[in-house]
């Protein structure tokens, strides 16, 4: 869909959601809006809009285009609504666990056997954030962060697919601790935005430094020149020049001082089927994990290299490693003939104490609890 089509769809959908009735007439769309939204949109009961700048003014049609006041009002209205919502995700078929595992590299085709220990339900929290980096320019990003309050994990979600398969439900369990979910979400957001924030800061500070150096250079040399020309000259003049320098510096600081802000836009609670599973990996290794039908993320498995918990996974010497660490392994492991580490890997008979739990020591997996392991 082109940007123009997306914009048109957004505006018409928003108006429909506000209870407007619409009829299209060539380049114009005639709109009738209910009383309650007229003042927000600053329109009369019936009015026309157009997406074509050339037709602005035909029947006093409001132009809808980036930068137009009407679009600004529609955006502002849409952003003030729909700030929380409850949805349900139905597991697509009985084999969703097997398919989810295959997608993340832990399917039976890789020799991984899965034992389902419990099927249950949980509520995930989806938080949308707008991140704004502002100095003398502005850069913004939209982030969706999903939080599982039960496992204490948070991950970024692709906004394009986030809605897929969700069914609205009028009433549902509200997440038990929204604030805890928010804290996890903000931590994750900080982590995912760090690189962009640092890059922005570095650019802004570079510009600030350049500007400050130039201002000092100019005013200090000007003061020297004034003093050289007239050593007993006016102190008032020098004071004025210094005052001007300080004012310029303050102005420059205001201009380039980088700021990074994030705002919570909306929250969605998602009821979803979950499974507690035991994964039997090749090489007599097993791990306990959970996954949910919506995100299909396997939680409870950690990378043998970085201990990260983000898949997809690659089986590696009786354990798993994440896609990011695969190149590291390929480079560093075998060819150099480095001796194998004595440190037992997590999830093996010898590695009982090293298993990582997404919720820390209070929520250790069975692999870490010392119970009898699988075959």
């Amino acid at each position: 869909m082109s940007e123009a089509d997306a914009l048109r769809r957004f505006v018409l959908d928003t108006l429909a959601d506000l209870g407007a009735t619409m009829s299209e007439a060539g380049p114009l769309v005639w709109i009738q809006v209910p009383e309650r939204v007229r003042s927000d949109l600053e329109v009369s009961a019936t009015f026309a809009i157009t997406f074509d700048p050339e037709r602005t003014g035909d029947f006093e049609a409001e132009l809808v285009a980036p930068g137009s006041l009407f679009l600004e009002r529609i955006v502002s209205l849409a952003a003030s609504r729909g700030r929380w919502d409850v949805a349900r995700f139905e597991a697509p078929g009985a084999d969703w666990i097997e398919r989810a595992l295959s997608e993340c590299g832990l399917g039976s085709e890789r020799g991984v056997r899965c034992e389902t220990e419990e099927i249950g339900e949980t509520v995930l929290v989806l938080l949308s954030f707008r991140v704004s980096l502002v100095a003398d320019e502005k850069r913004e990003r939209f982030h969706l962060i999903a939080v599982s309050p039960t496992t204490g994990s948070a991950w970024e979600v692709d906004p394009v697919t986030a809605d897929s398969g969700l069914i609205a439900i009028p009433d549902a369990r509200v997440p038990p601790d929204l604030e805890a979910a928010y804290r996890l979400g903000t931590e994750k957001l900080r982590e995912t935005s760090r690189e962009a924030v640092d890059r922005f800061r570095s650019t802004s500070l570079h510009l600030l430094e350049e500007e400050v150096r130039r201002i000092f250079g100019y005013f200090d040399r000007t003061i020297e020149e004034i003093q050289a020309a007239d050593p007993d000259g006016s102190h008032d003049l020098l004071r004025t020049v210094r005052g001007e320098r300080d004012r310029r510096l303050a102005e420059t600081l205001e201009r380039f001082d980088p700021k990074a802000r994030a705002a919570l836009c909306a929250i969605r609670a998602i009821q979803v089927t979950t499974a507690r599973i035991r994964l039997h990996l090749p090489g007599d290794v097993w791990a306990d994990a959970t996954l949910d039908a919506w995100s299909r993320r396997v939680r409870g498995v950690a990378c043998v290299v970085c201990h990260g918990m983000e898949g997809p996974w690659i089986l590696h010497e009786g354990g798993v490693c994440c896609a990011r660490c695969r190149p590291t392994l390929a480079e560093s492991a075998r060819p150099r003939g480095r001796p194998r580490s004595d440190t037992p890997r997590r999830g093996t008979r010898d590695g009982r104490g090293s298993a990582r739990s997404p919720r820390g020591s209070t929520a250790r997996s069975r692999a870490a609890s010392g119970r009898r392991r699988g075959p």
Binding site: D13, G82, K138, R194, L208, R247
Partner: protein, 588 residues
């Protein structure tokens, strides 16, 4: 805010923390306490944010929302350069007529869309405040207000002020107390002297971005260039002593030295587009149609002029401003048609502005005007129109004249489209379309389609002549603008021995106004007299009682205009010389 000291260079190790909005807590507290707005509203919430995301200045966002603005690549390039490379501080020094105002408006709009400009100040000569407000409103949807009272500094985030008003207390102090996101200074060559109140006022404003607009950054000597650049970026041309030593090649400060190095430095702060051959507008051909009034019209004109002169001088300064204005209106209306003046005369017979004897004279004049049923000028207009098959724009200042002409032209079988400020917007659009489709005559008042595309026509008839030459220029500009490919015909109808004849003498014969490039006239009139408008000067000449006095005063005004034009030509040459390589030629 504390100032950054040299020792306090920003530490590269420190990281920038993401600050979360305080209102997040409110949302967390409110969420799920009531049922939400539904899944569609949730989705639209996300889309609203994604649609309005800003990603630097990677692309311009404002173009689609601009109204009546033709998109020219040189303006787009300028805007991108100022936003990305100059980071919002620049001298826009395009040659006249290439659209500096549009460029400035575009830059402002880009910042406003991104939320980077929430307070903006435009400083202009007093005569241009209204024009700026109109352009910002109609083309950019930016709600600017013209400074009227001290309260405006507090309550108007988008403000236009005459620099002469703003620089004086109490305005000065209020302007300096505010923090401006963007300051635009039009006709910025008025900031050429760093010791002037103008320069110090602008330098003292606290601002994030600043645009200085001038077609002639160098008017007399190189100091002026230094002073302008120092407002934007002190140090960009070194210190003053070093600048003089390095870049000034003569004792009088008029000759540049190390020119290529100087131009390199100027490129960081200045954009200058100049007309390429292909960007030059087609020529204008001016037709002057002097008319001899009928005996009845002549008598009325002379009697009314006598009344105006008597009333203008009789009270010698005791006359109210409103009464003076009324006299000017009468004199202008009679220059348009007897129908325009008849109605005003009728109203004035009851006006307390005039004494009993004057009201009696006004009544007699009204009767005289009402007795005239046709105007010779209209016959000349029909005669001219019959000589051509071209579509024509016929301009008049007055609705009464317009009504009269409409009747005359329609009786002659012309398809006439009328256009005036009182029409609602859809009717105006319909009028332009009807004229383009099959209309022959576009009969218009001053509101003649500002910003509308009328270049499909190429003939402009000035049925009457506004005393403000900029209004004449605006009329011609409706068809003689970028996009016009054919020679443009300008027809001026004027009666002999009238103010309009004086006007033609000055504007056409003395300064060849009709040959000037769009925008040059502003500059010439700007250097003529900063305190009095051209209309006031015309009225002062016209109301002199003795014909010899009038002729002498007209000659003096003519000489002043010629000097102003010569001065303008010399400045244009100087700027071309100094800024040659900073400029980019605008192709077709």
């Amino acid at each position: 805010m504390s100032l950054p000291l040299r020792e306090d260079a920003p530490s590269p190790d420190a990281s920038l923390a993401l600050q979360f909005d305080e209102t997040d807590a409110d949302l967390l507290a409110r969420a799920f306490r009531t049922s939400g707005d539904g899944p569609r509203a949730w989705r639209l919430n996300g889309e609203a944010h994604r649609i309005s995301l800003i990603d630097g200045f990677d692309r311009l966002l404002a173009w689609p929302s601009l109204r009546g603005v033709v998109r020219y690549p040189h303006q787009e390039r300028t805007c991108v350069r100022v936003l990305r490379e100059m980071r919002g501080r620049a001298i826009l020094a395009d040659e006249v007529g290439l659209g500096k105002t549009i460029e400035a408006g575009l830059i402002l709009k880009e910042y406003a869309i991104r939320g980077l400009v929430r307070r903006a100040l435009i400083l202009t000569p007093a005569s241009l405040t209204g024009q700026w407000r109109e352009e910002m409103e109609s083309k950019f949807e930016l709600p600017f207000a013209v400074l009227r009272s001290v309260g405006d500094w507090e309550h108007r985030p988008f403000l236009i002020a005459s620099i002469d008003t703003a620089k004086r207390d109490p305005h000065r102090a209020l302007a300096h107390r505010k923090s401006w996101d963007l300051v635009i200074v039009d006709e910025a060559h008025r900031l050429k002297n760093r010791l002037s109140v103008n320069w110090r006022f602008v330098a003292g404003l606290s601002k994030k971005y600043m645009l200085l607009l001038t077609a002639t950054p160098v008017q007399n000597d190189m100091d002026e260039l230094f002073n302008l650049v120092s407002l934007l970026k002190p140090g960009a041309l070194h210190t003053y002593d070093r600048f003089v030593e390095r870049y000034v090649g003569s004792a009088d400060g008029r000759v540049p030295a190390h020119v290529s190095e100087l131009r390199d430095r100027l490129r960081d702060v200045m954009v200058r587009n100049r007309r390429g051959i292909a960007f030059t507008l087609p020529p204008r051909r001016v037709h002057s149609l002097p008319v001899r009034l009928s005996p009845g019209e002549r008598r009325l004109y002379d009697n009314l002029t006598d009344f105006v002169r008597d009333a203008y001088w009789s009270a010698s300064g005791r006359m109210s401003w409103a009464a003076r204005l009324t006299l000017i209106v009468l004199q202008r209306e009679i220059g348009s048609s007897t129908f325009a003046v008849a109605e005003t005369l009728g109203r004035l017979t009851q006006s307390p502005l005039f004494g009993a004897a004057e009201r009696e004279r006004l009544e007699a004049l009204q009767e005289e005007a009402r007795a005239i049923t046709s105007n010779v000028k209209a016959l000349h207009l029909v005669g001219f129109l019959q000589s051509s098959d071209e579509k024509a724009l016929v301009f008049t200042q007055y609705l009464r004249t317009m009504q009269y002409l409409r009747g005359v032209l329609e009786r002659d079988g012309y398809r006439v489209v009328v256009y005036h400020g009182g029409l609602p917007s859809p009717a105006k659009d319909a009028a332009v379309r009807a004229f383009q489709r099959d209309g022959q005559i576009f009969l218009s008042t001053e509101a003649g389609g500002e910003g509308r595309n009328l270049q499909f026509a190429r003939t402009v008839v000035n049925y009457d002549l506004p005393w403000n030459p900029l209004r004449i220029e605006q009329r011609i500009g409706r068809v003689h603008r970028l996009g016009q490919e054919r020679e443009v015909h300008v027809v001026n109808l004027w009666a002999l021995d009238t103010v309009e004849a004086y006007l033609m003498e000055l504007l056409d014969r003395k300064i060849h106004m009709f040959e000037l490039v769009v925008g040059e006239l502003d500059l010439i009139l700007g250097t003529l007299d900063e305190r009095r408008s051209f209309e006031d000067m015309m009225m002062e000449v016209w109301t002199l009682r003795q014909a010899e006095e009038r002729r002498a005063a007209l000659a003096r005004l003519g000489d002043a205009l010629v000097r102003a034009r010569d001065q303008h030509d010399a400045m244009r040459e100087r700027n071309q010389e100094v800024l040659r390589d900073v400029s980019e030629e605008v192709p077709a």
